[in-house]
């Protein structure tokens, strides 16, 4: 698979390591009353769809950036690649 890195252009997926579902960006608030349940769901449960999937890839053998890749799990076709930083900020994260 070729991942079109937003800064570096087309890169072989072998340069990356894979973390998983991009929902891992949305870490729950540890002060929430239901924090234990929310962290359980955050850490262990997955949607695991057959089809379009947003996921985190880390450019370990490159610029060490985290990317959010939108990829089809049935065809392996990649339709969108964003910097995870931008996605997190768009979801309201400050850092």
């Amino acid at each position: 698979m070729i991942i079109h890195h937003p800064l570096l252009g087309p890169r072989d997926s072998a340069e990356f390591t894979y973390l998983g579902d991009a929902n891992l960006i949305d870490r729950p608030d540890w002060q929430d009353k239901k924090a234990a349940d929310k962290f359980y769901e955050y850490q262990y449960l997955r949607n695991n769809p057959a089809g379009e999937h947003q996921e985190l890839w880390y450019h370990e053998a490159g610029d060490r950036s985290w990317l959010v890749v939108t990829r089809n799990t049935v065809t392996h076709e990649i339709t969108k690649v964003e910097l995870a930083r931008d996605v997190a900020r768009a979801r309201g994260r400050s850092k």
Binding site: D12, Q43, N47, T73
Partner: protein, 424 residues
């Protein structure tokens, strides 16, 4: 009651001779092709190894014969037909080892039980040791196996050399310093497992319904009363789902999210060669395992690709990685040509161990999360799942294989790599 091989007659050596002398006109289809009834006591979703084994044990050990197995394609066309056929019970942890040893014991009596030649071959499995630390770890694992009634044998480098002289013993980076052998491990003709269980289950009256895809569950007030399928609604008192690889997809129809990701694992077969590899050999310094089929092909594999996939095909970096592992372990493999390769979809769970449990929905039961160890577990999984479906209580070897272990903090993590499915 069972009429042994009701449809196809009992198989035996004598029968083969008789049929040979009479023009093979006596062979009949090994199972019926029934239309679904309106309702069953139990529906098994998934006509793979685990689902068919579950049906067989439900009928033969728990006397429940109002059972249907529904399968979206043809039986045995999923992972039971796409694996590397290895059986073993060389696990470390208490939550796993009793179960896998139970399964291995069932393999040993499988062919007599189902009256079908599954070519169970206990040719042994050998895990190689490359460092002193690894020897300590394997010694501990071997002791854990012995404590659970399995067999294990720690071999020196000389003993390994006597059995597998073709290995690369003096590799500077990965010298071979010994091995952990399980002599009762080996290989099985994987398709025959599905066919044997199907034929046996059918002979007890179980309906095996192919080309019948589950499209939804009928759930009302937290209770499941049947399955919507491509052949219409089928009612059931209990529904057991055994669709590993597709668990995430199927259970989402019941509104469930699972501690599972689906990943692709590739497997490879070389051209046919003369007998060179005595059993199953696994490389301890990389991820590579190899055995030789009875037709002579080297059957081997390694790591999963490492990203979510339902595609049944992988990518080239892993092909390269697996072949490099093979070359490091046994350089002679470089002369063999690759005949074919394929991918299978694994339920990779959050701790690398399976789940056989009730769900939060009454009447809906789950069997999955097999990672890439589902084939060896087939008989045990079937028996244990049948036990759960019949008695609503987990079998004594599966008391730890539950959904809630993640929330309670009782993971069964053989590798200790945490909630990162692609590392298990």
């Amino acid at each position: 009651m069972r009429v042994t091989g009701k449809n196809s007659g009992r198989y035996s050596g004598l029968r083969v001779i008789k049929e040979a002398l009479t023009g093979h006109r006596g062979w009949k289809p090994a199972w019926r092709d029934p239309e679904p009834q309106k309702e069953y006591d139990i529906i098994i979703v998934g006509g793979g190894g685990h689902g068919l084994a579950t049906a067989h044990y439900l009928a033969s050990k728990f006397n429940i014969t109002s059972v249907a197995v529904i399968e979206k394609g043809w039986i045995g066309g999923g992972n039971v037909g796409r694996n590397t056929t290895i059986i073993r019970s060389n696990y470390l942890l208490d939550g796993n080892e009793p179960f896998y040893e139970f399964s291995l014991k069932l393999w040993e009596g499988l062919e007599q039980d189902v009256n079908y030649n599954a070519m169970v071959s206990q040719r042994g499995i050998l895990n190689l040791i490359h460092t002193d630390g690894q020897r300590d770890a394997y010694r501990r694992r071997g002791n854990a196996m012995l404590l659970n009634g399995a067999d294990a044998e720690l071999l020196s480098a000389e003993q390994v050399r006597a059995e597998c002289p073709f290995l690369n013993f003096d590799n500077n980076r990965f010298p071979i310093k010994g091995g952990l052998a399980q002599r009762r491990g080996g290989t099985v003709r994987h398709d025959a497992v599905a066919w044997g269980y199907a034929r046996s289950a059918d002979s007890f009256g179980v309906d095996i319904i192919q080309n019948c895809e589950a499209t939804g569950f009928r759930i009302k007030n937290g209770k499941c009363s049947g399955v919507e399928t491509s052949k219409g609604f089928i009612g059931a008192k209990k529904v057991g789902v055994a669709v590993a690889g597709n668990s995430g997809k199927v259970m989402s129809m019941a509104g469930m999210r699972l501690p599972i990701e689906s990943h692709v694992l590739q497997a490879f077969v070389s051209e046919g060669l003369k007998p060179i590899i005595p059993g199953v050999v696994t490389f301890g310094a990389g991820h590579f395992y190899v055995s030789q089929s009875d037709k002579g092909g080297l059957v081997f594999g390694g790591d999963i690709d490492g990203y979510n996939s339902y595609a049944q095909r992988g990518n080239l970096p892993v092909v390269e990685d697996v072949c490099e592992g093979g070359m490091a372990l046994m350089p002679m493999i470089g002369r063999a040509r690759l005949l074919r390769m394929w991918g299978g979809i694994m339920d990779m769970s959050m701790d690398g161990s399976p789940i056989i449990d009730k769900t939060g929905i009454e009447g809906l039961y789950f069997n999955g999360g097999w990672c890439y160890g589902g084939f060896k577990a087939t008989p045990g999984s079937g028996w244990v799942f049948a036990h759960l479906l019949a008695n609503d209580e987990p079998h004594q070897t599966a008391t730890e294989l539950r959904f809630d272990r993640f929330q309670r903090g009782y993971m069964i993590d053989e590798k200790g790599s945490g909630a990162q499915p692609n590392l298990h």
